[in-house]
Symmetry: C2
Subunit: 266 residues, 2 copies
Amino acid sequence: MSMTVGVFDSGFGGLTVLRAMLPLLPGTRFVYLGDTARLPYGSKSRATIARYAVSSVEFLQQQGADFLVIACNTASALALDEIRAAARVPVLGVVETGAAAAANVSKAKSVLVLGTAATIASHAYAHACSARGLHVVEQACPLLVPLVEEGWTDHHPVTATVVDLYLGQAQSLYAKGSEPDTLLLGCTHYPLLRAEFDRALAGRMTIVDSAGVTAARAAELLAPSPSAAPARCEFFVTDSPQQFQSLGSRFLGQPVENVQHVELPE
Amino acid sequence: MSMTVGVFDSGFGGLTVLRAMLPLLPGTRFVYLGDTARLPYGSKSRATIARYAVSSVEFLQQQGADFLVIACNTASALALDEIRAAARVPVLGVVETGAAAAANVSKAKSVLVLGTAATIASHAYAHACSARGLHVVEQACPLLVPLVEEGWTDHHPVTATVVDLYLGQAQSLYAKGSEPDTLLLGCTHYPLLRAEFDRALAGRMTIVDSAGVTAARAAELLAPSPSAAPARCEFFVTDSPQQFQSLGSRFLGQPVENVQHVELPE
């Protein structure tokens, strides 16, 4: 019997996590839920995010999920305890996974975390990284998600300037001699800006991308048997399926098909 | 007995309309609803926006509103018919009001409209302007709201570049000799970028700001009796009152007080 992996995000970003999982988990059925009617979670309060995330996770379990990936950084940061309390299956969140990967990679034991306003304000990455012996500097980057959604990604002059401004703001937060050697991308939109971060950092830091490391960790935990069958995907969204289909392909790196609308309880 | 004016927006932007109404409608009680748990409406479908707007307007009527100002451009563009059908009091929407003001101002009978992706995709301004004999060019500017919410407003170099890029994109849509003489700001966040538009246009177009003209029209329709009493404001939001209070003051131009949380039906 094939495994069903439920993937939850507030919108499109989690498609970068799914994209990284597809080649690692052949034969798997993926059920993706994008709570697009209520995105972005980044600007909402903890109580609101927890309520939305729990109803989303309940929906994924009804669809048969044996394993849950919380691909939404904001929900992982603010509501993972509530999600685990409500779930009847194992739950993997991008914050813990990203922090663990950063701890593995950083020689200086010092990391810079970038994310949305709510993710950073929650200090969830700071706590998860500190618990693993890392020194952490955090920088909120509220404009990066809108820039990605506008399609102004790699090599756009405005995006280059904004990335430089945010990294410069972060720079001013370091004490002399305590510069981090690792950059943790704490938002699933940011892999689409990877070339800009590579350019701006010019090798000064190792980049840990939460989408990639979460996919790798899911594959480790689920230990898939080698299978010739390709992974299958079903998509559910709370807003327009057409819009998700047309915008989502940039995140998934292939056409997004089988998108259905679903109403979730408030 | 004093008049109660209900003001509805998906978030903060409508505070620029309220700000413009305060000096024009002394003695009035204003009840403002910001549906902040579900913002931004700009990326959502027509059906979702209509459902949210109708439940918001019903709440404002329960609070005693005798007159409704739909300060949210997206809701005015996509859901005004549904709102009027659900309302038991007069409804003023920013789209019709903005189009009427542009028609009054434009000598060339040609206007450029800027707004969010959903407002522009609805072509509601194009229809309202065409019905008044105007030639219309529309340009979606998805990054301007996030830039205002980041606080990168007037004189920020990134914002200056983005405004120039969007106006440049619009320029490429004009036929030679049919350049508009009027710029209609179809989003209540844009008054906070007024100095950037003034700089970029350098007098080439007359700017019509939807917040200002909607406030003026409300004052005309309600014909307030001169009164020494200042206007009073009550605020309701569907997400965190603290966040609304701290971010809202920039939009209102004075401290935002008396903010209460409210749950609306989905």
